[in-house]
Structures are given as structure tokens and as C-alpha cells.
Amino acid sequence: MSSLRRSMGTTALVALSALLVMACGNSPSGGSGNSATVGYATSQPKVKITFWYMPNGAAPNDYFKAEAAAFNAAHPNIEVEGTLVDWGDAFNKITTALTSGVGPDVTQLGTTWVGAFSKTGGLHPMSKGEVDGLGGSSAFVPGAWASSSLVGSGQTTAIPWFIDTRAIYYRADVLNRLGIDPATAFSTWDAMDQTLAKIKADGKVQAFGIPGKNAYDVVHNFAPWVWGAGGDYVNSDGTKSQIGSDASVDGVYQFESLASKYVDKAVLQKSNSEVEAAFGAGQFAVTTDGPWLAQQLQQPKAQGGYGDDVTAKAGFGTAPYPAGPKDHKVFFGGSNLAIMKSSKQEAAAYEWVRWLTNQGQPTYVSKVGMWPARGLSANASVFAADKYDTAFKNQLQFGKSYPMIAAWGPIETALVKDFGNLWDQVAQANGPVPRDTVKSDMSKAAQDVDAAIQQSK
């Protein structure tokens, strides 16, 4: 028999064995396949899988390519083709992919979208074997694992990849010059107000800078203030809105008052990246952002960072988000990874997910400036070394995420519009928007949220 026939026969036998193993061991609907039989062995035929990712870090394409190359070195039979999708388009594009059946094998998802997309039935539910193959749920930060499934479904549809939270960034030289102690400057709402008032009175630099309605995370920016006042967006089981309650209105009013008093109205109309660049350029002394900004402030301009600019040279620091009068909670979001049900390469896609949430996690997540969702990854030396990460690490204990309910996607869309309205009012007002107006706006928002919940049933 020729060597060609022999190798073809061997390949066919291996493929058949692999198929049999996969058929017996790996059930896509929550079957009992064990962790040893899941995945795509290196002896399997070469395949290509497609992956959608969002702009993670200063050079998202470079970071993806490096990770795909490392994965391919360990799995030479799986090639990963990546597509960068902007956060602003991602929700719509994933919706289109779910409805049309034409989309990637693996996609990055915002944690707040897991409920909505899981409800459509378009995401691959992980079997017990597949979850065990990732190390099991206990391998992940508990708050992060809560975002892996739709509430009440019993099915894991999206594996936590990295955690995203926000903290305060400040110009260390400005606080030093004004004799403000960074350890207490932002510890409570009152302390933060006094700090910003001192910076404003000094007159040398604008006090505060945040994006208003053009932020991609409009809803997340209000969340810590709503929670700090004892309010919430929805009740615990996600069946009724709470944003119209007095406590919630207090939180919204506090945040918009701070913005009205200390943020230049032109800055309020900038996007996230414009505000980050403006902070890097030293336009204002205080801002709020995720851990990626610290990365960018340490990276030179040639690598897409602001390391050569005013703030980096003058010195900056990070501090945990302030505690409110009733509670101390910070927004806990991030990204998960999901395999589309329409994927024809589910096993190979699973292998990519396993890589990104395990071996590949410390390097990738540290590069993009996020916090790993896997508990053990957080102990990696690359995270301990960065002093700016301390504030983020310290406030993980206060992390709170939105309920993973099906209606959350539509709820967030409704709130984005209502908060956008409020930011428009702030831009046109002389001073803070009156509490009565905020109350009226949030009553409307409550109505919109209840309607979104009803329509999602």
C-alpha cells in the first residue's frame, strides 16, 4: 500500500475515532460529557474558527494577533481569524448574527448582554464536561461567574473572561500642591465634593472631566451613585423597575450635580476616548475610568498611549470609588466569551475559549488593562507589579453587577436614552438640574424600564 493511502487511512481512522469520542462525550445540551473528552485534540483535522472581539486596550488588533499566534503554537490545527467590532456596533451585530445564523464561532460579549442573548437561544449551552474542562465554576471570581448564565435557566452560556470596574483617577501633583490627602480625598461623596471644590477654586486646571451622553457606558457611570444612595435600577429578580424611587433619584441627582458644578459643558459632550485623551493632556484633574487608562498613561504615544503627555509626566494616582451615604458599591462588568449555536466548529471554538480563560488570560488581560475573571490568574506577577491596580483590586470586594435577566439588554437601551436626555438637560442648564426635574425624568425612565421588562416576556 502506498504511503499516501496509508496516511489517508490513518487520518480517516483518527477522525472517525475523534468523532466517536466527541459524540459520546460531549453533549451540547448540558449532557454529561467529562472534561477529558471535550475540546478539539491536536490530532484532529485543521480548521479555522472566527472570533469577534471588541476594542480591548490601546492596540486591540496587536493583542489579539499575539494571543492567536500563541494559541496556534499550542494548537497547530486550529487557526483563529479575528474581527474587531466596535462597542457601539457590537450589540446590533451580534443580534444580526443570532437571527441570521451567519456570524462568528466565538464572540466577546459584554456581561450585561449575557441574559438578553441567552434568552434568544442562539448561544451554545456548555455541558458539565465543558465547564469542568475550564476548571469548574470555582476557578472563577464568584461575582464574575454570576454573569455566565441567564437567571433561572440552569445553563452556562458565556464564560467570564475579564472583569471591568471603574475607579477615580487624579492628578497627584494637583492634590499635593493643594495639600489634599489622596487617601481620603475621594473616600465619601462629601469628601469628593470638597476635593473638587478646592481644585475648582484654585483655578489652575478644570476640576472634573467625564463623558456625558456620548459615553458608551452611560448606564454604568450612574450605577455606583444610584447604589450608594440605597437605590437600584431594578428589583432583585428583575421584575420591576426601581429607578424612579426616591433613593435612586438621590443617587442620580448627586452625580449630575457633581457634573454640573465641576465639569465643563463642552467636556460633557465628548466620548470616552476623547475624555481619556483630555485627561492625559492635563485638561482636568480628576476623572473616572477603568484600569486600561492607567495602562495608556504608561504607554508612549507611539504605542497609542498618553505616556508622553502632561498627566503622565506630572504624576497621577488611582483611588477607589467613593462610598455613598447608604452603601458602597462599584460597577462590576467586563466581558465574557460565548460560542454561537450556529458554529460548525463548536469543539475547536471551545478550545479557543479554554485558552483565553486559562493559559492565555494573564498575558492578554494584563495587556488590555483589565482584571482577570479567573481567580488564580489574578495572582500572576504581572498584576501585582502595577501600583495603579491596587485601587481596583481593593474595590473588587464592593463589586456589584446587574442581574443577568433576559430583559437587561432592552432595559439598558431604554436607560441609555433616558440618561441621554438628562445629560442634554445638564448641558443646557445653568447649574445643577433641579431634583424635581430629575425625579420626573427618572419616573419616565421607570416607565420605560417596566415596558422593556413587559415586552421581553
Binding site: G88, F91, N92, T95, T96, L98, T99, A116, K119, T120, G121, G122, P211, K213, N214, A215, Y216, V218, D264, K265, A266, Q269, S271, N272, A406, G409, P410, T413, A414, V416, K417, F419, G420, N421, W423, D424, A427, Q428, K444, Q447, D448, D450, A451, A452, Q455, S456, K457
Partner: protein, 349 residues
């Protein structure tokens, strides 16, 4: 006069136009029933044989229209009667039938947030459509008058005036979004630093938003009006102007009594295309406000962006389809007004 007799009375320009139109209607004789009219249009003979060639040539276009327009329209109408939300998304046309519930949710349901959004967006769409089309027509008309004159550099001027038309609409939205920025935008830079006006308007907030979306759309659209009107201007007989000049008509009178009336049919067509395109306009508003909230505000949200937000953002395509049907009715309403205004110009002569 040398020939003696009375000189025939000189006609006014209006009378000359009427005479000209009458000549056109009587000029072409009706074909004799026994005269063959050329290839492909054989007169029905006693054997009633009809050639199929024209139908064969039309078939591909008809098939294309069926597949690209009529079938999707019918599917969209049916979707408007389904509960096609996130729970039933993958069922598509198998989603539960709810009749006119989606329409009542958009228009009359007291707890529906869409009711106010729809009315606001409908108001904005009407204002936007009327403003854009009137301004595009006016600017296009002035530009057409300019480029039909003979002057040095006319070709260059015509090319420059055509440039906005080749810019993709989504680029127009992004570009003007940056231009309208309150501190870094060029518009406020010109107002504040060049003209030294004591203003720093927030163009993308409040009622000024309507101005911020109308101006870029006019900028993008006027070249099309200019081209069509310049073609119309070229078709106006020169002897009408000569006769009017001889009668002592001023430039304004020639414009008002000759040019505008003769161009009314062309203007009607320009406005019709413009109305339909503007009612369904999406790109400029979406890309100008696409960052972050993606919400153009009380005075910028138009029906297409409202429908997009509530379909994709709310994962509620049944309601979105119902709102799309209502959008179509808004367009039909505006076209009906157009028809009432131009019915005389559209009549066959």
C-alpha cells in the same frame, strides 16, 4: 410698416409660454391604426398575436423588484403582526401572531414609552424633510443658475459644487459631528475666533440639533438638485427670454414668469425624490450621534433612528416592523401633499 396693414400684437411672455405648450401638444400626430410603429410593438392584428420580447426584457427587472422590494415588504408587514421579541427571535415568522397589538403599542398604549418617542420622531421627520428639501431646492436652483452661465472657470466651479454629492452619507454625519463640537469644532472656531461673536452654541443639544442635522443633509443633497435643474434650464427655449427682453422685462421678471414656471415639472420630480429619500434618511443622524447613547435627543431623533433603536436595542422587531409601516404612511402623507401642490404640472399635455 412698409407692407402696410397692422402689425400683429406682441405676445406677453406668459402667452408665449402657453402658445409654445399648445404647439407641443398638437405637434405630434396620432399614429394611424394601420401604421406599424416599429420593432417590438406590433399592432394587434386580426390574428391577435402579441410579441413577448418586451415582457422577456422586463422580466429580470420585475424579478429583481419582486425579490428585493415586494417580498421583503410583505414579510415586513407580516412581521408587524407578530410578537417577534428576544424570546421568539429565532422563530422568525413562526413567532406568535398578535394582530394589531404592535401598532396600538406604538400609537395608543398609555404605558408604552414608544408613543411619545414616535410622535416626537414623526414631528422631527416632517420638519427635517420639509426643511432639507426646500433648502436643497433653493440652493440647487441658485447653483444651477450659476453653472449655466458662461464664465471662465465654470467647469472647475461645477466640479467643486458636485463634490459634496460624492461623500458617503455616513461620512457626512461623522464629519459634521466633529465640525459641530462646541470647543474643538471648526464652526464654533469660525464664529468665536474669526468672526469674534460672543457665542459658543451647543449645536448637538436641544433645538439647535435640528439645524445641526439639516445643514449637512442640504450640503450633501443640493448637487443633485443643481444637476437636474440645470438640465431643465437648458431645455427652456431661448426665444422666450429674447422676447421678454425686448418687452423690457427685468431679470427678476424673467426669472419669475419664465424660468420658474418652465422648471416646475423638474422641481416636482426633484422634490419627490428628495422627500422619499429624506423621510427614510438614517445615516447622517445615526453617525453624527452614534457614539455613546446613540440618541440624537428630543430635536434630532427621527423615525428611522427611533425604529432602529427600538428594534435592535430593545430586541423587539415586531414593534419595529409596526413602526416601519407607520413610517411608510408618513411618507405617503407627504407625497400626497406633494401631489396636491404639483398636480397641474404633472398633467399630460
Amino acid at each position: 410698416m412698409d407692407r402696410g396693414g397692422v402689425e400683429p400684437p406682441r405676445l406677453t411672455p406668459k402667452a408665449m409660454i402657453a402658445q409654445d405648450e399648445t404647439r407641443q401638444t398638437v405637434a405630434a400626430p396620432l399614429p394611424s391604426p394601420s401604421t406599424p410603429e416599429g420593432p417590438g410593438l406590433e399592432v394587434v392584428s386580426s390574428s391577435r398575436r402579441v410579441r413577448l420580447l418586451p415582457y422577456a426584457l422586463l422580466a429580470p427587472a420585475a424579478a429583481f423588484l419582486l425579490v428585493v422590494h415586494f417580498i421583503p415588504m410583505a414579510v415586513g408587514l407580516y412581521m408587524a403582526t407578530l410578537r417577534l421579541n428576544q424570546g421568539h427571535l429565532l422563530e422568525f415568522l413562526g413567532a406568535p401572531f398578535v394582530g394589531i397589538d404592535n401598532f396600538t403599542y406604538v400609537l395608543t398604549d398609555p404605558i408604552s414609552p414608544l408613543k411619545d418617542q414616535f410622535l416626537e420622531a414623526a414631528r422631527n421627520t416632517v420638519i427635517y424633510t420639509v426643511a432639507v428639501n426646500i433648502l436643497s431646492l433653493l440652493v440647487g436652483f441658485v447653483a444651477a443658475l450659476l453653472i449655466t452661465r458662461d464664465f471662465r472657470g465654470r467647469g472647475l466651479v461645477r466640479t467643486l459644487l458636485l463634490l459634496p454629492w460624492i461623500v458617503p452619507t455616513y461620512v457626512v454625519g461623522i464629519l459634521w459631528g466633529f465640525m459641530w463640537a462646541p470647543d474643538s469644532g471648526i464652526i464654533n472656531h469660525i464664529l468665536r475666533d474669526v468672526l469674534h461673536l460672543p457665542v459658543r452654541p451647543f449645536w448637538l443639544v436641544g433645538p439647535l440639533t435640528m439645524t445641526a442635522i439639516v445643514i449637512p443633509t442640504v450640503w450633501r443633497n443640493f448637487p443633485q438638485s443643481m444637476l437636474m435643474l440645470s438640465a431643465g434650464l437648458a431645455g427652456i427655449p431661448a426665444d422666450l427670454y429674447e422676447a421678454a427682453e425686448v418687452d423690457g422685462a427685468s431679470s427678476w421678471q424673467r426669472l419669475r414668469f419664465i424660468t420658474v414656471p418652465m422648471l416646475r415639472p423638474v422641481m416636482a420630480v426633484v422634490l419627490l425624490f428628495g422627500i422619499i429619500a429624506t423621510v427614510y434618511s438614517f445615516n447622517v443622524v445615526f453617525t453624527m450621534f452614534g457614539r455613546g447613547a446613540g440618541y440624537a435627543g428630543e430635536w434630532g431623533d427621527v423615525l428611522t433612528t427611533m425604529i432602529f433603536r427600538n428594534s435592535f436595542g430593545q430586541l423587539n422587531f415586531g414593534v419595529g416592523a409596526a413602526a416601519s409601516v407607520l413610517l411608510m404612511l408618513v411618507c405617503v402623507g407627504l407625497v400626497a401633499i406633494w401631489y396636491w401642490a404639483f398636480r397641474e404640472d404633472l398633467r399630460a399635455r
